[in-house]
Symmetry: C2
């Protein structure tokens, strides 16, 4: 990134040669350092004196661009490493993206680079570009006058990196096409940018998080230095849902795990290019002191402002409730037929008297409930310059407010591509953020306003119980009874129950537990008992116990003739609670995740489940529950009792500790349902399934 | 819209006069008809000879633009009506939008216009514009060279209408700023456009549906003539949730009713300006024969294409599964390191050999699984012309395919504002639809591909039962028992039950029904029995009946000391079914709506409920259930029994008939829960609440 002396291997003046793009870009961008083309025979390339081999260079370069095919590139990296060159860009395709042989070649490339502790951009990339120094190690056409500013763009995809950097919307500090990121990964670039004072925002197009630990460390550095990271993940839909052992996993695939990971580490995740751009524009240009209140929006189109209120609601952005004095003062700026409100329709009167617009901004900013001002102003691109100029009075009013006002202001054009350049130039010259696209613009405002303090969840100390380690590492699958024993041994409350080998024992067990009871088949070979006809609820007397015992065993025999049947589990029947699902499942490469949501028969209703990664403490558990509809059920329904949410949070914290302690042995844990009783009565796990790493994944 | 002779009342040459904009627009747009300014004293205005009053005109104008303040405008409309002038545009504000006095003034305006059977645009509007004839009765600056085409823009908001029409994206036939739409409403404009051969798409910004019946009629005309209507509703968030009697209404406010109404009548509803624009662009420009298959997408950026797959999944757009022969043929067009797939990454090879791009389009179009082609091509706006020209070979390849291929093709730029004009001009000249904004572009493709045949649900014949009409019109609120009697009398199955005035009767009732039973307090003054402690489930013997009877009465007395208590309802206990909510509620101005979703305790979980407007038949009921997670629960959960969904659909049809028959008397009907039993066993309404028009809305 800071190279002053650059060698280009495979240098060529052929118009379509990758190295040709690099060399022409270095010329066009006025790179002030030294360029050494390496060419087997030519004496000069694009006017620079060439040498036949890296070893023939007069001095050690800071970086080498390797513009030769894959197999040769590996050799050249080895050569560069042995010469002590600290950095390289490898452009060639034909590595891990092409299959097994390519993966081997990439490993060789990585080994070669690591042997010399080289930083290496690529392979299968377009390279990198630093506009401020003209360092244009980039094999696709660059615009020499790229707008400079505090935004670094990182993308696995080169075409996307250049499309964003060349959009004209961003002030760019660096462009990185990371390609396969075989050596230097996104986390490394993030860590580097965290140390650069001139970088304030990273716009990241992310195909995968290769090393979560390194990424988390880089984000911690970013937070310390005030660097904001906005990311768009690509390939969300093609990441097929990974088969997990229990239904928990199916509900929360690795897509949700990746989102949970980014959220946890303070990355702002967006859903499309426009939202990425608008968020990067806003975070990199907004100025002024925000307070804790809401947005105040104003404009000259009532319809546009009403639509903005809709979009703001969609994006979760709140509007300020203006003080009566503010409304009264604003009313004096409006024509008699208009009334002051938020959003504020200034009406066409401001075309003739734009000072009213500036006064309105000042008045709104003085209201303590207002955190930030948004001027909604469409100036159609189709207008001629004269037509657009009618709006310039408003733009100048906003610019004047920006110069003296203390609360931040942004301009938002509801139509993509707007506002008209005539107006945009005034605003950009005055350093006013200009957002485009209604939806993406409001989403960006939401990202800005939801800025939160990251809280590190410290993993609690844990101790593995040696007996349980042995049991999880070896032997047959755990039955429900064993799973519950395991949970109880780790402080998680379950139903009371006895294993009855015969009907007589079952009757005695039921009498001891109290009527009614639940009977369930107990077999290490039957994971999902309901499908096997292996569950009977609400068993109310001795005769029913005997009948149910025989029926359950017969059903299980029909369902799985080979299954080992240990007997029937007789359980206390817990009713009246809210049924909740709590589960653990593996989400590589992020480790175990915990899912919570409606349980029992409603587990398959979509939209109600949420996932976070371990560790969770009780506060993180509460936050997670609050993102699901459960928190309303738990708060009491139609005057019903308030549920014991606090104990549910303790259970989730306990399950998180179990996950960390026994991580090597666990595939999935599925507590479904957990009955959350009324406040003070706690929770009970009614059914539990533990799938170990060594178990076969059950069919259903 | 077709006026050739136009009078302008309040004509003025003042730069900021509303009439000045109109007159200057008529000049700038080369209106070929006659213009008569009306001015009290001037002899000419902008060169046209003026007269002092409408009555002094040499001939009857086809339309009059009334550019005077509100009160005067009402007089002028009366004068115009008496002269037999068929159309008017009233620009002034100060009508219904300002309060009670303004509403009265608007009524006077409406009466005046109706007295002469005048069409009237406005008041509180910017007017209308027909680019083809230069009829520019519009009081805001118009661009003389507005692109013409088959899209009519209608908006209550004038600023929005002009922003869309001037965006340069649409080929425009008409622009209508409908304002308060006091006389001529959106439905009238739609009906008019349905009769115009040169209008193919209406882009509609809708603040309210004033007259649903007229709107539905206009949409029927639109369908017959092939006119497509795309609508963005504004004010979704500010339409406060209307208080309805039962929880059904609270779950499905009038916002959902408006969406259901638009959907039912074939309007494509969008969520922001960008989606409105892209959908109008696509529907108005796409050509070629689509088949039933999926999309084939291609481009030169693997990252961009992966993102497109995500966006397509978000928008519900399916990709085609290419035939093996197609893949094999495509492989021959790709460099060795690339593999044919859909989406298809052509890689940078096509910059040098764009004919490969055209061949790929032709190959993809030949695959029977492909319905339509989408070329994903970002050409950054920031590029200079030389850089953009590198992409023009691809644009020309797409244009050549468009000229000879039979399946439709569209170009999509992921970045708003793209692609670069250098490339866009080639595509637009070749009549290729060019979409912008990834999200909005894919949403537009979804709207195009989901085109469906509208099915008219015929209201079934119904007969009101006179006794029930009397009961609904008069007397105290209906108890649960009466509500269920009402339902049974109309063929809807409920639990069996008896009203027991004392514990002895309750015991006899329970013995007759069979154990266990449910006991519920019966009072016309207690609508929500659970809050009152008035429900006891699972009562299993005589002793429990007696205890529960006393407890329920005592709880009810505590909850509502003044309540009249008729006794206790003893009900059969139905268990094992899937609990569903079915309800009716009023959704003005659309009439009654029917809601279905998860019932019982899960009624408050969000996202699971769906609303449609009456009438529903069994097919419409099934379609509605399929939009909710219920259909998965009803299809059998974890090997559990399949539920009797067919009988649930019959119940919904029956409730729809009840709604139509008793509409004047009903505020809301809340069947919650309805227990849907296993197939062949039907459904039972477990609890029912009927709130009449004359009832007070219960507190909870």
């Amino acid at each position: 990134m800071e190279a002053r002396r650059v060698a280009v291997v495979g240098a060529s003046e052929r118009p379509d040669a990758p190295s040709g793009f690099v060399l022409r870009n270095l010329l066009a961008c006025d790179f002030s350092g030294t360029v050494w083309p390496v060419h087997p025979s030519a004496s000069t390339v694009y006017g620079w004196p060439a040498v036949p081999r890296l070893a023939d260079l007069p001095d050690r370069p800071d970086a080498v661009v390797i513009a030769v095919p894959a197999a040769t590139a590996v050799q050249v990296v080895g050569e560069a490493a042995s010469l002590g060159i600290p950095g390289a860009v490898v452009l060639a395709s034909g590595f891990a993206e092409t299959g097994a042989a390519g993966r081997a070649l990439q490993q060789a490339l990585t080994d070669a680079a690591r042997s010399g502790e080289m930083a290496l951009c690529g392979p299968n990339c377009l390279g990198l570009h630093v506009p401020a120094t003209g360092l244009a190690l980039f094999s696709s056409r660059l615009v020499p006058g790229m707008r400079q500013g505090p935004v670094a763009v990182i993308s696995h995809s080169g075409a996307t990196a250049i499309a964003l950097a060349n959009s004209g919307r961003l002030g760019v500090s660096h462009v990185v096409s990371a390609g396969n990121a075989a050596v230097t990964d996104v986390a490394d670039y993030l860590g580097y940018f965290a140390g650069q004072d001139n970088v304030r925002v990273v716009a990241l197009l992310l195909e995968k998080v290769a090393d979560p630990a390194a990424f988390a460390l880089a984000m911690a550095q970013a937070h310390r230095s005030g660097l904001r990271v906005v990311a768009l993940r690509t390939g969300r839909s093609v990441r097929g849902a990974r088969t997990t052992a229990a239904h928990t996993g199916a509900l929360a695939g690795s897509n949700e795990a990746a989102s949970a990971f980014l959220h946890r580490h303070g990355v702002l995740e967006v859903t499309d290019y426009d939202e990425l751009l608008e968020t990067a524009v806003l975070l990199s240009t907004v100025r002024g002191r925000r307070t804790g209140g809401g947005i105040a929006a104003l404009g000259v189109s009532g319809g546009g402002l009403a639509h903005c209120a809709d979009l703001a609601a969609d994006a979760g952005v709140g509007f300020a409730d203006l003080a009566p004095t503010t409304r009264a003062e604003l009313d004096r700026l409006l024509p008699p037929f208009a009334r002051a409100d938020n959003p504020l329709d200034m009406t066409g009167v401001v075309f003739g008297e734009p000072q009213r617009y500036e006064q309105a901004l000042t008045r709104l900013a003085a209201d303590p409930s207002v955190s930030m001002l948004v001027a909604v102003q469409d100036v159609p691109l189709g207008l001629d310059a004269e037509g657009a100029r009618e709006y310039s009075g408003i733009a100048q009013a906003i610019a004047r407010y920006r110069a003296q006002g203390d609360k931040p202001v942004a301009v938002l054009s509801l139509l993509a591509g707007g506002p008209h350049p005539e107006v945009r130039d005034i605003l950009q010259a005055a350093d006013v953020p200009v957002l485009q696209c209604g939806r993406a613009g409001w989403a960006a405002l939401g990202h800005l306003l939801r800025t939160r303090t990251l809280r590190l969840v410290e993993p609690a100390p844990w101790i593995r119980q040696p007996a349980w380690v042995r049991r999880l590492a070896d032997g047959p699958a755990l039955t429900e009874r064993e799973a519950k024993n395991f949970l109880r041994d780790h402080g998680i409350p379950t139903t009371r129950e006895w294993l009855a080998p015969d009907p007589d024992s079952a009757v005695r067990a039921a009498q001891a537990l109290g009527w009614p009871v639940v009977l369930k088949i107990e077999s290490p070979d039957i994971a999902h008992k309901t499908e096997a006809g292996g569950v009977q609820l609400n068993v109310r007397d001795e005769a029913e116990v005997r009948a149910a015992f025989e029926r359950l065993v017969a059903s299980a025999r029909r369902f799985a003739p080979e299954a080992r049947i240990a007997g029937v589990l007789v359980q206390e029947m817990v009713s009246g609670g809210v049924e909740v699902l709590v589960g653990l499942a593996r989400h590589p490469p992020f480790g175990l995740g915990l899912t919570v949501g409606p349980g029992g028969v409603f587990v398959e209703l979509t939209g109600g489940h949420a996932l976070d990664l371990l560790p969770l403490d009780v506060d993180a558990a509460r936050e997670l529950i609050e993102t699901t509809p459960l928190h309303r059920l738990l708060a009491g329904y139609r005057g019903g009792p308030v549920s014991d949410a606090a104990v549910l949070c303790e259970l989730m914290q306990g399950l998180s500790r179990i996950g960390l302690a026994y991580e090597p042995y666990l595939q999935a844990v599925d507590l479904n349902p957990v009955s959350v009783l009324s406040q003070g009565r706690g929770v009970r796990v009614l059914d539990a399934l533990i799938v170990r790493h060594i178990d076969e994944v059950p069919a259903a």
